[in-house]
Symmetry: C2
Subunit: 347 residues, 2 copies
């Protein structure tokens, strides 16, 4: 008699960070695709684009002019979703109608003056400058009394809602802790209280031992496909030491984070030989003035592509109403990513 | 001094069904859009397409032939994400690596033999046949011991991952209750235990009194934009009576559900004068053999479009890593939908 085996049989996997599940249907990968195809944006871009509102020296939509920066550059989002002027107040009618004012700061980070580059095409020294800026920004924003959480993220590619190919990321810093890090906080705390270690420290030891979902390992960080990955090529970068937030990172650790961020995105680009779209971001300790020994800094990568440069995974009907679903297993994804060349396909 | 006001100031709203929040940034609606544009699929389709695997009499990808059906037609998905053969088993290593086998049945429902129609273009009698089939399917699938939850849904439009424009929906029925209805179950139960009424019954009374988020009301159902809507034009259809599941619905109630489903999707099409994409589905009581007095049947509509037929809302970086965010308020969306003609723009 054959036995339940996760390479062949439909199953659910549990995400211990969020308490949610993903449905895995490995046998479904053979399904033909006749639906929407994504555009591949492989035009050659100039090093400087006079029309780009992020290039050095150009005018922004809000009317300001960018300086002639030559590393990274940060400014307040001209169309910020949050601001500090917001008046305080709220509503609560029988727990059915609940609203609260929210204060915050939204910033944009240009990764490079070069309009034509992306993280995997920059060198480690240049990517390190991005990590330096993340650290500065986390400390600067986090020190304000109005700010209790700092969300750093990057939307890459038009399929991920990015409206400008100039390499850049964003920071939304705010007074409350948003849902996703709040879910993790809860579970990290319960785990730390029980085991005296962070959940991700224990998880990482086990993954390094099992090997089959590990992609890249350097002195301070590991990149892997988590056991509970929902997107086809979802990855996490986890610090080997239980670092709580960017503010605690040494120069060596920042260089190692820059290196693994670059290495992972090179693999991504090599997968379909295309500038690989994703949303990525860092989850780290809230800046609420409390100690957070339970927190363990990590970076999530959520890329939408499934089979090729043009076929993405749609998280729609069943996924929106039930729970996320995936076809290929996380182990198969990890194997495919691991086997790719370490050098960028464009050389 | 001015006061906190939800039409102008950034705020968070609480979703009492899921326990999650949405960030509302009303002032951000003025942001110009330079990003990805969606294709508008407004080609004229034939009444019967010889290439379509859902049209009557045609061959399916799996090799079977559709009968010459003339109302609705249901069959087992040729690329089912779930099946009943799945071997039982599971893994649990220190609560960090948890997986469980999952059994289920996936079916496809053709809404009409006509390849060129959609729900808003069908008459109420024809849409009623779809509701009849939902009811039959819920009772049939739900009566099986392996099936504890029946998820009925529709992905409409290629932007929502729909690969065939022939009007159709799906059913994924399975042994465990997926995350989204499980979150609702938990909160419905807590509310019912405390108040002796369903959460949605009390919510609906208050919404009917306030009026500003109500779109359509008929004898048995109400369509509204929920207070906590995340998608720009997200809507809910809620039964006036606390119906727990489709199995309890009378002929009159089924006709009323068909009518409001059609009326709402007509408004949607009229908004940008385009066949309006969405994912929609019914949340109802699990079929686990228990009584569920706390459950209150409802239908969610998650449409992606934001400003026009070609500009959608991207739920990406901040939304994936923090929580959902919206620009226009639910009240503004409701007002816009309410003011649209009741007749389909194609006449
Ligand atoms: O089953 P279909 O229509 O081929 O596929 C569509 O709906 C499914 C259920 O929401 C999703 O998992 C797929 O990503 C989507 O493309
Ligand atoms: O701020 P941007 O780049 O204009 O906008 C993009 O990222 C935001 C944060 O994830 C999203 O809310 C928008 O939907 C998306 O288009």
């Amino acid at each position: 008699m054959s036995e339940f085996n996760m390479e062949d049989h439909p199953h659910r996997r549990y995400n211990p960070l969020t308490g949610e599940w993903v449905l895995v249907s490995p046998h479904r990968a053979k399904r033909p695709w006749q639906g929407q195809l994504e555009k591949v944006a492989e035009e050659k871009r100039p090093e400087h684009d006079p029309e780009c509102y992020l290039c050095p020296g150009n005018d922004r939509i809000g009317g300001e002019k960018n300086p002639s920066y030559d590393g990274t550059y940060v400014f307040t989002n001209d169309f910020a979703a949050l601001n500090l002027d917001a008046l305080k107040g709220g509503v609560n009618e029988d727990d059915l109608f609940r609203a609260e004012s929210e204060q915050g700061i939204c910033r944009v980070i240009c990764f490079s003056p070069r309009h034509d580059l992306t993280i995997p095409q920059m060198d480690v020294v240049a990517v390190k400058k991005v990590v330096d800026l993340w650290q500065e920004q986390y400390l600067d924003l986090g020190s304000r009394s109005e700010i209790n959480y700092v969300q750093i993220f990057e939307n890459k590619g038009s399929v991920m809602g990015c409206s400008n190919p100039h390499p850049h990321g964003q920071i939304w810093a705010q007074s409350s802790v948003p849902d996703e890090p709040a879910k993790e906080s809860l579970r990290f705390k319960a785990y730390f209280d029980k085991h005296g270690k962070t959940l991700l420290a224990d998880y990482l030891v086990k993954e390094l031992d099992k090997e089959d979902r590990i992609l890249i390992e350097n002195d301070h960080f590991v990149a892997l496909v988590p056991y509970w990955a929902t997107w086809p090529f979802e990855c996490m970068i986890i610090s080997q030491r239980a670092i709580q937030h960017l503010g605690q990172m040494s120069e060596d650790e920042k260089t190692a984070l820059a290196a693994i961020y670059r290495d992972l995105t090179i693999r991504y680009d090599n997968l379909f030989e295309v500038s690989f779209p994703y949303s990525a971001g860092i989850h780290q300790a809230p800046t609420d003035g409390e100690e957070h020994p339970e927190w363990h800094l990590h970076m999530h990568f959520y890329p939408p592509l499934l089979r090729s440069a043009t076929v993405k995974k749609f998280m729609v009907g069943y996924e929106m109403l039930g729970n996320p679903q995936r076809d290929i297993t996380p182990e198969t994804s990890a194997e495919r990513l691991r086997m790719l060349p370490k050098e960028h396909y464009k050389g």
